[in-house]
């Protein structure tokens, strides 16, 4: 029994390296007193997570991670740190530090226990046809509601034939189709949510509360 997707030694090394990077920078984020250094470490941690996604053969998610987290959220954090003046005093630890350690250790122990004591179903249970479709590619034949899947290119008929790479190997196209077919509604709602978050953010940031009363007439355009 061979795994559906072989994990090479190099992949394993990359995985542990990316994990060490992620967790190391994350530890700096939660222990560093200087908030600006914490923000830089946070960007490093996000980058490590992005590499982890590539190692897990999720290229599209990895690129999204780097664009959104490393590119946008880290910059937002850096701006926030620079705008807030009294950051020089640093991020002091709160009173309940021991409680924090205890909670983190408990959460970690519970999750690790579950991970190692659950019998996860293995990809070896996949049917041979499914393995080929996931790792080598498949053809969608027909159009409209009448689409069937072939593993080899059908020769010489008038049907529309769409060639797809293996869903695991070329995941970007498959994820794109997944987002606009199966998860169309969720996709639209996410757009609405982002607009709402944007408007809410602008509204909160609009005017200092003191000058709000005097400029009320101008603000209600």
């Amino acid at each position: 029994m061979t795994p559906v997707m072989e994990v090479s030694a190099l992949t394993t090394i990359a995985f542990w390296a990316a994990s060490a990077m992620t967790l190391g920078f994350a530890a700096i984020v939660v222990t560093q007193r200087d908030v600006f250094r914490a923000a830089i470490a946070l960007a490093g941690s996000f980058l490590g997570v992005g590499i982890l996604y590539f190692v897990l053969s999720a290229e599209f998610v990895g690129v999204v991670q780097i664009l959104v987290y490393v590119g946008a959220i880290s910059v937002l954090m850096a701006f926030a740190v620079m705008f807030i003046q009294d950051i020089a005093s640093g991020s002091r630890p709160a009173q309940g530090r021991l409680v924090g350690v205890a909670a983190a250790v408990l959460v970690f122990a519970a999750l690790a226990f579950t991970a190692y004591n659950t019998e996860w179903s293995s990809q070896n249970e996949l049917s041979p046809d499914a393995v080929v479709a996931l790792t080598e590619g498949y053809y969608e034949v027909g159009e409209g509601d009448d689409i069937r899947v072939e593993l080899t290119e059908p020769a010489g008929d008038n049907d529309v034939v769409v060639a797809n790479g293996g869903a695991f190997v070329e995941s970007t196209g498959a994820v794109g189709v997944l987002l606009v077919r199966e998860y169309m509604l969720a996709f639209e709602i996410i757009g609405l949510l982002l607009v709402a978050a944007l408007i809410g953010g602008l509204l909160l940031m609009r005017n200092p509360p003191s000058s709000n009363k005097t400029e009320k007439g101008d603000a209600s355009v």
């Binding site: 530890a27 991020s91 991970a115 996949l126 996931l134 899947v149 997944l178």
Partner: protein, 116 residues
Amino acid sequence: MTIENVLLVSAALFAIGAYGVVSRRSLVTVIMSLELMFNGVVIAAVAFSRFTPAAALLSGDPLTAEAIRSALTGHAFAIFVTAVAAGEAALAFALVFAMYRATESVEITDASEMKN
């Protein structure tokens, strides 16, 4: 690299984030720790997509395009969580700024009243 290893890393990142949320006083650091927790969750979603088989591909039914795509549900989940986290971060910082303007402080212990 097995699913247990990846879930272990995901759990460790989540726990580190949880520690940061509980033990830091500055709201900015608390939000950073929240983002770490989001990342831990998404790593688990992608790991399940990578290592466990999609239910629709196990049965003996004929292969359909939907069933093949359902093997990547974890990726779609990851993208939705990322989008929600981005919106959350933007809104959270707007709130932090509003609080900073009102109270000249970003410490969580000073956030006991929501007037102004």
